[in-house]
Symmetry: D2
Subunit: 405 residues, 4 copies
């Protein structure tokens, strides 16, 4: 009895309107695998810091599709041949590139399923869809895997200037209200070109590239690596870890049916993985938190409440590693106040480090200079600001609960 509501144009506050290029792509969007992305938030728990950040992987994927249409148009107008089959494959590959994200996107990656990245699951989904849609995704998969003989197509999907980044930076900036990340995607795309089947940017776009990288850098430190957000993600990860531990010790935990496959089993049955994974999204994690906020285990109960009611840990950043002494003092105080053992205390006090560089030379951005030569970005731009963007910056942090004396 289910209906297909053929809407061919989607409203987007960022790009205005997004058109769906053809029926086959429309059918992919209609597929439950893709509709599931409507229930997976793009930025995990960042909404606890930026209350507007509730946009989803669904919207991001549609946004990427839009930018890819622009990119194909621009490249063709410059004489780059992209035939209809390739065009269709590019759209499918970018549309589906994030299918493999699980609940809260990156926040729980590698915890719900260990040892499998979201890209690998995306691939599994694509292969499954390829079977369902009679092999019509074969080229898209080839490009996605980097096995197609024209590497610029992969560059458009996965590189330092791919449609993925051009959409998510702009989108995350828009929904959080952090203007610093409002990059000029349209301008960057209009400056793309292809030389020897590699994606390049024309030299006149140098300042736009700098602005893009610099915007990305600022989004990392202000938003993606925001200290409150990092603290909240740690709490969420702690919940999953504590659940495992309690189950190992034979303690009953109220786990939604959909999550039992992932949380209750020691080893994951690969043959069921995709079906089970397709059934979970953010709501299952929320249900887990809500069901256990009165659990008899103090640790689990507190962790759940802290996330739900936004009563988060304190977090301190520094430019040097956190002295073990400082941590030990905090731990001792916590153990004494709440009568916790070492293991239990470790859920509330922890430290770590985060590193980021705005530009990674290893996977270079290529510039087409005015003499029609292709050079690496920091070779093309001699200014100190470009060099600075390539440097790795590392920060250290530790989290702890405030305890009244």
């Amino acid at each position: 009895m289910k209906q297909q509501n053929k809407l061919k144009i989607l409203n987007d506050p960022i790009y205005g309107f997004i058109s769906i290029p053809n029926d086959a792509i429309f059918e992919l969007i209609e597929h439950p695998y893709f509709q599931r992305l409507r229930r997976i938030t793009q930025m995990g728990l960042s909404y606890l810091v930026y209350p507007g950040a509730h946009h989803t992987r669904f919207h991001h994927a549609i946004g990427c599709l839009h930018l890819m249409q622009r990119a194909v148009q621009v490249l063709r107008s410059k004489g780059i041949v992209i035939d209809d089959v390739e065009e269709d494959a590019l759209y499918k590959a970018i549309l589906l590139h994030d299918l493999g994200h699980g609940p809260f996107s990156h926040a729980l990656e590698n915890l719900i399923i260990q040892g499998i990245s979201h890209e690998e699951i995306s691939l599994l989904f694509m292969q499954d869809l390829n079977a369902q849609f009679n092999g019509s995704l074969t080229l898209a998969i080839k490009i996605f895997q980097g096995k197609y003989h024209r590497p610029f197509m992969l560059d458009l999907i996965s590189s330092q200037l791919d449609m993925d980044r051009l959409d998510y930076l702009k989108r995350d900036s828009f929904y959080t209200g952090v203007a610093e990340g409002n990059i000029n995607s349209q301008r960057l795309i209009s400056m793309l070109n292809v030389v020897d089947d590699r994606l390049v940017v024309e030299e006149k776009a140098l300042y736009s590239v700098e602005n893009f990288l610099s915007g990305r850098r600022l989004m990392y430190w202000q938003v993606y690596l925001h200290k409150t957000g990092i603290g909240a993600e740690h709490l969420l990860q702690s919940v999953v870890q504590r659940v495992h531990e309690l189950l190992d010790n034979g303690v009953t935990v109220d786990i939604p049916t959909t999550l039992q496959f992932f949380l209750s089993n020691k080893t994951i049955d690969r043959s069921q993985l995709l079906e089970r994974f397709a059934a979970i999204d953010d709501t299952d994690i929320f249900t887990l938190l809500k069901s256990n906020q009165s659990h008899s285990d103090l640790v689990l109960r507190e962790l759940c409440q802290m996330i739900l009611n936004r009563q988060l840990l304190r977090i301190k950043f520094s430019n040097t590693p956190v002295p073990q002494k400082k941590l030990d003092k905090k731990i001792e105080k916590l153990k004494k106040s709440y009568k916790l053992n070492d293991k239990e205390a470790s859920y509330f006090i922890f430290h770590g480090e985060i590193s980021n560089s705005a530009y990674a030379k290893a996977k270079p951005i290529l510039i087409l200079n005015k003499k029609n030569k292709v050079v690496e970005l920091t070779d093309a731009a001699k200014e100190p600001s470009f060099k600075a963007l390539a440097k790795v910056v590392t920060k250290y942090y530790y989290c702890y609960p405030k305890i009244q004396d």
Copy 2:
């Protein structure tokens, strides 16, 4: 162990920054009652039509608080006396005015709890908080109930030009990308005044008022009463009704613990109402849908799948009531194709009407004209466009599944 993270400034993509005026208000925001609004979407199922519409009641309430701060500032600059206690009460009243919203806001109102409006529940919440916070909400409640002797304060919270509407129209326009609703809240607020303790708008704002009402009209027909959205809401309401029916017939349904109080009980125990209501939000409804998408009952199963996978009903609008004959034909076909009885078929084929007028004279907008007299809007503005906005427009619709012959 829970912490209060005293953030005093919130990022908002619409207003830039929103400051929290004082500690008492900050504590209200930190309260779990208020944090729960982070899990209640402002626009119900509208995200199925406008993929950006995932913003929450939390963000809206904070936005209202911001506009109220502007309004107090403007009115004071015009010599209207608002003392510090009144100011604080205005902030608290507008901040909490939507606390009583349940899962998916209006979509399920009157279905989860029958016979109690969200405003009544908001009041219950406020009274409970008043007890928790030592009577510090007494004046806010008085204003909210319309019992304070300066009625303009209620006008700021609930009228045709209240801060509620000034925020939600702008916010909903922003997140959906429907530019037509992008009203000029700032300009309207700057033109507010108070005469004889009633809220008025200065005459020079007439065109801004027209634009506001006209924007509201367009948002109603394009967004709030969008046909796909209406169809989806009907499906959601049908789920709740079908669950009730199945339970009445002794059929087991997988219901999240949090919802059992509301769905399994014939009569609601008033003494537990608030505590139970505070425990539910959108995620519980999603869990209900997800848990029953393979239910043995065809009707429940189909309804759940249709919403989750966005396989919605067809819907037709017309300016005249839908002929019964047309409906009967659709019903017969459906019953035959799927072997359904009348009751079962009624979940998939139904009709209704919706009415809207952009301006309701009954609760007039008052204009302060250039001769310093207060007149009702359509008396102040003789142009035909104002009269037109006061007219009621009614449309009729029916929903049905497409069935291949």
Copy 3:
């Protein structure tokens, strides 16, 4: 020695980037006739009310070119055949449609050259360019004159939904900061279609059309017919009239060489018209004002100073004609205070009426309804707000200087 700087992409704060479709069009833009539009402000003296309103006819014409490119793209995607020659002609016609505007656009139309509209002068310019460019504008001119057998092409250039209006409303709204006129050009264009060679809008765009008309209405009353702006334009017109009068009476006036052809001659020599007209722009009028702000004639001197220093007349609006008595009283007072005769006083006290309807049925907007029939707008939309937009609204005003008693 002059160079052509082939910039093929122009920055536009509204549309982002505007590309110039081909070399021939680029050459038209480079022509001094078109570059002159850089010195003709789009909104006359409106900058005295809205300080941001300094954008030019040049920018507007380029904006129209951009929208026409979108329109051609949309129509072709719907199967409307527009061949390459027609496409090129559409771009040229819209680009050049405003070439005939003189200094301060509408403010001085019919005063500098009497009896010739700006459209007629545009045509003269196009014909001259056609001769210079070897007949390559022949089809553009045919379309512009309404002589081409596919009338929808003229509709795109001159109708109630033409690219001209879609650009200027949005652009004027942007630069003035009057949000009410921020229409959704992109959405409207995406809903255009062609039936029987007439331009139509698809029914689903009804609310967008309403919003466009309503935005236009509000821009008229708030911006184009703003009382201060109207008063300022009257002063500017008075300057030209006073100059004529003084010259008639043999009084010397300092007139820039470029304007002498228009102001000093009783009859215009048609053979020189175009060359002379091409030589004047806003700066000549400013020079006229600046050169005569110390003129011995009180009237001329005052008028020039009033505009330059923004010391404008008072203006009152009403819904009924201004009683002669009221005017007479003002005139008497002015004559007495400044020792003026009737003629002289008439430059400072005057009255008039302005009428506007947002939608003129005479040149209808055509709607393609869901049954694929073409109907006139107010037949397609039965709602009262559409009817209201078609009504003519008239207002009366009078201007006068404030005189201290």
Copy 4:
């Protein structure tokens, strides 16, 4: 007969509405000295590159006034005492800080009047206004001159984070459409503070400061130092130089009366300077260009035409000085083609260098760190990107006409 139209609120597309704080400031705005800024474009000839860049010094000064009101509000809310007299002086000082700009702002500075900067002329204007307004600008002038005992007040008017920069970067970005300069003025102002009477920024604003400096850097290279713009400014300067030369040689040049004082006199009569300077603006320069575009002198004629019709020189940028050989070759070719002598050729072929650093340590930005200590920016931020912003970048260029072989 001139009227004062007391508008107390101005529309601004950037900040929404700008209110004029008091009558005295309103009167300054009404003064012809200030109204003259309506005829001085903020960005000189940049409109030849960015067609939207026609905004004026008037609008910028009003924008600065708005930001200063925000800053005073923010600082007071943090407990910094600014009394009413100081507040008023801050508004007047920032409002009038650019009064001394002449035609086309920086483009002709030091050419129309040699040896006097626009700041010095601003001061002369302020002193004159102070006399006209009975000494009510005394404190404003004291602050502007850096003679007031609270230096943070000068910091607000003239420093690396002053209201001037916060407005012009944002405004220029808005009107050009170059998104890279869209800095977050509101956020930066909200992070300002005062320690020991010096202006400081709170440490949490570090990334906002980086974004501001980086935006400024990008605006310099993309907009202010845009090669086409630089070439155009050179042409304009050449016009003035050529006029001087021709006059020296006894050749008649058509010079507007207003400019004769500056162009025809060898030495400037200081006693008349202010009155004469107040009489000139952009329109006089345009008149100069228009009047001489058919001059018998090839050089003057060509220069005037090139600017008016946008037929500009070629310009090449490089990271190393331009080899004299290259220039000599171009000069020889030009001299031969057009039969020019060395002097004449020098107007069309020239070279130069431009340097810029986004952050000048000499006039440091001070950061208030979390330990409540004031440190210089690059000491507070250890990241390489900050260091990079402090480096001076120099580029070399040369301009020449393209000559067909």
